[in-house]
Symmetry: C2
Subunit: 254 residues, 2 copies
Amino acid sequence: MSQTVDRALSILPLLAQGPADLGQVADRLGVHKSTALRLLRTLHEHGLVYRQQDNRYRLGARLFALAQEAVENLDMRDIAHSHLVALNSQCGHTVHLAVHEDGEVLYIDKVESRYPVRMYSRIGKPVAITVAAVAKLLLADLPEAERRVLAERLDYPMYTPRSSPNAAAFLKELATVREQGWATDLGGHEESINCVGAPIRGADGRVVAAMSVSAPNVVVTAEELLTLLPLVRRTADAISREYSGNTHPSKDAS
Amino acid sequence: MSQTVDRALSILPLLAQGPADLGQVADRLGVHKSTALRLLRTLHEHGLVYRQQDNRYRLGARLFALAQEAVENLDMRDIAHSHLVALNSQCGHTVHLAVHEDGEVLYIDKVESRYPVRMYSRIGKPVAITVAAVAKLLLADLPEAERRVLAERLDYPMYTPRSSPNAAAFLKELATVREQGWATDLGGHEESINCVGAPIRGADGRVVAAMSVSAPNVVVTAEELLTLLPLVRRTADAISREYSGNTHPSKDAS
DNA sequence: GATCTCGTTGCACTACATGCAATGGCCATT
DNA sequence: AATGGCCATTGCATGTAGTGCAACGAGATC
């Protein structure tokens, strides 16, 4: 909508691939060097790009600060975290929390076996949207039309023989998930990893987040993991209730 | 330099504090609502902001993706990582790698005791620049003038009684570090945590990064930790050599 | 059902971003 | 050393594109 801003922001994914000098940026943007220079300067002032000694530009530190702050200020993460930790201490396995956003699914919290460390290492990396239990939960709740469009748009990489191979199979899987109110990923992403997940709903009943418990085959079989389902669902429901209670607690803060 | 982009980018830190609606954004930007709308739309198209159901905006997923990619593409991190892991496996303690960028110091890698997991949890959070060993190393190598200006600009929070209290003390500390070629943080940030660090230098001898080993008092005393200094320095030097060898290995990649 | 609030849109205006061409610094080549 | 080429930088004239205004519409509130 805004040409100038559009151009400036297009520089970021470009630099994400690696450092580039002024000429390269100008070329790939299709603008004059002086224009590119101005845009880069503005990005630099805001700390989004950094200029290294050789005059090449790369992404800047402020980007991390923003990403960090963004995650920490998510209401959902705040509310859910203690529940996730509690669940983890009961079952010992890795617990994930994820949300859906514009066709992508991303983890916003993770509690790893025994080490209650917020690991953001996965954040930003696209979740395997066609196979992850949390992804199925989040997409299963989309309106029919939106779901179909999204399903057609996706790629269906065969991580393992059990990965959803195409849109039709995926939509069928989503229908099942929608019906039963929970989801699994039994070796669909990595052969030896199984997950059980449950949806977290807002006050209006729509799915706003999803959580899952993951464990490798060598620790517990898929059947054993499934016995955790009631516990997972109870945790998810508890988070749902707490979230519905105070969705916008800090609305007055200005 | 570019007004439009400047305004658009100013929205990001604003949203980092929490979700805001169109009116709030327009007010805090000092522009008309229609203008703010256009900027937000552009940011939205690039995935940097997300529009939630209640029409409030918050930071978007693409931000995480960018931050993630940025870290993974750092030459220094690539080169250093295996060395850090090796050091960790020898001494068992937490190992940090940090760089300096526009007056901020940030961790770009971390290897935690026994769990060779890339933890980005600290990335973005400002390093305690007045006390951390890696910060001292990076700032000590700045040109005289720049160092003074920066030192004056900083805040000097007293995390513990041993924190640098003011610019004068800090500059003196930096002089020492510069002289001896290594640095410590003995309970300056957290009472019970000690660190030893060494600089990583580019081909021209300038400090381009810094690394440190951290351990709590209860595991090893400060004296014992200091015995690791030769090992730390050797590791840092090894990284320096490797880095100097091929600073820009992928320059031909279009 | 009326009123208020907030997001949205079309439009006229001019401020601002753009491309050009010229300058200067840096490195490599002879 | 001197020269030529490359690249970042800058001032300026042009006109495009961003801006604010005002009117519209949807949704909530009483």
